[in-house]
């Protein structure tokens, strides 16, 4: 059985190890830690092995600038010459200032990402749904961009490198996670024509690293979309959504847990976030009826969940 929960202080070492083994981002690309961050974990039960982690940032870019490139389009046309050119532009923006962010996703190499990541995503989204006022209208999720055989990003090499002669991983090691905000101050402020970049850098615009394929799919299934913003360091796509339009947020409901020995035939698989002192999310069969969530006593008791426990549920 898998279960998602917020990180505790005594998880720190294990989370760090997981980030090193299974971090999806190119080192140095992740967002900086904020005050109200929650790191969500997925662990295997009963052995407690860590399978995945992700950081939920309540409001990004309020302490220091959060930059990204907006990928735009301009048309240059001359009818007399029969020329009609559609050109991609890159514009350094801070469009995501104040948005909530899902970042620093890591999956243990031996874990099945297609099973673990949906649970992680649901834990985060149901948590947001329960605490809607703490989070922004918009959620972003930066995905890692592509890198070449040497592990470096062709996008950085073709663009960022000209304005900051540094390797992102090295810069992270030297300056810490705040390096990115400082680096953004050195990046070009005028719109750029993508066609001026080397072919490999152009090809990297909005392309997610293959290691993030499952994450991309899971977030897409939840309703997040690429809306023409990319990471300014590695060109990776930034997925985003209006939180209130996500099924997991708009279609989830509060309830009190009701333990039963037999479920009605129309019961279905749900993601159930148990609230209270130690929030937990797991998948359970059950049904929401009039503010009560009916679940099997036997399954609920595996997690020591008791009758009347406040929960937030959504169809799995």
């Amino acid at each position: 059985m898998m279960l998602a929960r917020p990180m505790r202080a005594d998880d720190a070492a294990a989370v760090q190890t997981l980030q090193q083994r299974g971090g999806l981002a190119i080192p140095g690309v992740a967002l900086r830690d904020g005050h109200d961050d929650i790191v969500w974990l997925v662990e295997d039960r009963p052995d407690g092995r860590l399978l995945a982690s992700a950081r939920l940032v309540a409001a990004a870019g309020l302490d220091e600038p959060l930059a990204s490139y907006h990928v735009g389009c301009v048309v240059h046309a001359a009818r007399e010459l029969q020329l009609f050119h559609r050109l991609r532009t890159l514009y350094l923006s801070h469009d995501h200032t104040g948005a909530s962010a899902l970042t620093d996703v890591a999956v243990a190499p031996e874990a099945d990402a297609t099973a673990v990541l949906p649970l992680l995503a649901r834990a985060v989204l149901l948590w947001i749904a329960e605490h809607r006022e703490r989070y922004a209208p918009r959620l972003i999720a930066p995905l890692p961009g592509v890198s070449d055989a040497t592990g470096t990003s062709p996008f950085w090499r073709g663009l960022g490198q000209h304005f900051l002669a540094a390797d992102p991983a090295q810069a992270l090691a030297t300056h810490g996670r705040g390096w990115k905000a400082h680096a953004s101050a050195l990046m070009p402020r005028h719109p750029l024509y993508a066609s001026f970049l080397p072919a490999a850098a152009q090809a990297a615009i909005g392309q997610a690293h293959p290691v993030a394929a499952s994450l991309f799919q899971v977030l897409r299934d939840e309703g997040l979309r690429y809306e023409n913003h990319i990471d300014f360091v590695d060109g990776g796509p930034i997925l985003e959504a209006e939180l209130d339009q996500l099924t997991a947020v708009a279609g989830s409901r509060r309830a009190r847990l009701a333990l039963v020995d037999t479920l009605p035939p129309d019961a279905a698989r749900h993601d159930v976030l148990a609230l209270g002192d130690s929030p937990r999310l797991r998948r359970l069969d059950g049904i929401w009826i009039d503010g009560r969530f009916l679940a099997l006593r036997e399954q609920a008791q595996e997690s020591n969940w008791h009758e009347g426990l406040p929960v937030h549920v959504a169809l799995a």
Binding site: H76, A77, W179, P188, Y193
Partner: protein, 372 residues
């Protein structure tokens, strides 16, 4: 290199008023046609087509003859003529107002400094900013000199004589003056700057783009070009190196303009990256030092005062279609007065007692190396 008395060009060079700069007229069509065909690809501002050239000459003649208020549309073409043979050995021109019907586009060199104290980095980034700064300025155009005169002082007359004409007709020209120079390109007209910039927006070679756009103004092309500044570090190295670089054929006229005090650091041609020099007219050396002198007497140089030792001057006389300019030594005869050799006075059509405009040549006359 020492002057060689057997070299015709050297002898001609040493001869006062051997060549005359005067307005071009319809009768100069054959001479200018020869010049138009002698010029290299891509640096040609004289049309090769006979009818177009004739039209340009007609426009020029009208401009020189016009007493009306200037419209800004005027072009003025001058020819350098051998006073012995009447052969045309060079030409130069003025366009009263750059981009008259439309905008005149240039790239302006700018530098952006971005800094991060935390990362210990200060970056000075060169960008090219598409601008219309030079719209409406007066343009010096169409410089060409026969190769046999390239190493002499006569190109000075060809270039600077125009300034004396402008000085005479101040109200017909702008306060600022500029001149385009061809940038780097190879024999086939291929330009590294165009290949890195314009080509991305045109999918064609520059000569082809020029042909396609035909007689249309360059602003037609410029509307297709990127409006946002170009970050130079993102350009291929060959294109970066071509920024502000001259085509070798332009070195001679360029150096004359630089010596005049033109600024070559600010503007570039948007197509080939060649430098577009620019200055405030009143601050040019020839303009600042221009004097009006009275011809006191017509006196042949004497052995005590050989022509070769007297200070050579750019001399000009007359306005409109009667403008004439040449190079010759003069001797001072009193305050604001000079003596001229009769032959020089004849070329300029001046008599004793009349005024003419003069500015020191300041370029070695007898040294074949010396135009710098």
């Amino acid at each position: 290199m020492n002057p060689n008395p057997n070299d015709a060009a050297q002898r001609a060079e040493a001869e006062p008023a051997r060549y005359l700069l005067r307005p071009a007229g319809r009768a100069d069509l054959p001479g200018l046609e020869r010049i138009a065909h002698a010029r290299a690809i891509g640096i040609n501002s004289l049309p090769r087509d006979r009818a177009q050239l004739a039209d340009k000459l007609a426009r020029s003649e009208d401009a020189f003859n016009s007493d009306d208020d200037a419209s800004g549309e005027e072009i003025y073409l001058f020819v350098l003529v051998d006073t012995r043979s009447d052969e045309v050995l060079g030409c130069s021109g003025i366009a009263a107002s750059a981009g008259f019907h439309d905008r005149f586009y240039s790239y302006r060199n700018e530098f952006i400094v971005q800094a991060s104290a935390a990362l210990g980095v200060v970056n000075r980034t060169h960008i090219l900013h598409l601008c219309h700064d030079l719209t409406g300025v007066t343009l010096l155009t169409s410089f060409y000199v026969d190769p046999s005169l390239a190493q002499t002082c006569w190109p000075q007359l060809l270039s600077r004589g125009r300034l004396l004409y402008i000085a005479r007709h101040r109200g017909r020209f702008a306060e600022r003056i500029a001149a385009e120079s061809p940038g780097l390109s190879d024999e086939s007209g291929r330009s590294p700057f165009w290949d890195a910039v314009g080509r991305r927006f045109f999918d064609m070679d520059y000569p082809q783009a020029e042909t396609l756009t035909g007689g249309r103004s360059k602003s037609f092309i410029a509307d297709l070009m990127p409006q946002a500044p170009i970050y130079v570090p993102l350009l291929p190295e060959a294109a970066q190196l071509a920024i502000g670089q001259l085509h070798p054929v332009a070195e001679l006229p360029f150096r004359i303009l630089i010596d005049e005090g033109f600024d070559a650091e600010s503007y570039l041609d948007i197509f080939d990256g060649g430098p577009t020099v620019e200055a405030r007219f009143e601050l040019l050396r020839s303009v600042r030092h221009l004097r009006s002198l009275r011809v006191a007497g017509l006196i042949e140089p004497t052995p005590e005062l050989p022509a070769s030792l007297a200070p050579w001057q750019v001399l000009a006389n007359g306005g409109g279609a009667d403008f004439r300019a040449t190079l010759a030594p003069v001797t001072r005869s009193g305050p604001g007065a000079i003596n001229l050799a009769p032959r020089v006075a004849g070329v300029l059509q001046r008599q004793a007692g009349e005024q003419l405009q003069a500015v020191a040549l300041d370029a070695p006359v007898a040294n074949a190396e010396g135009l710098a």
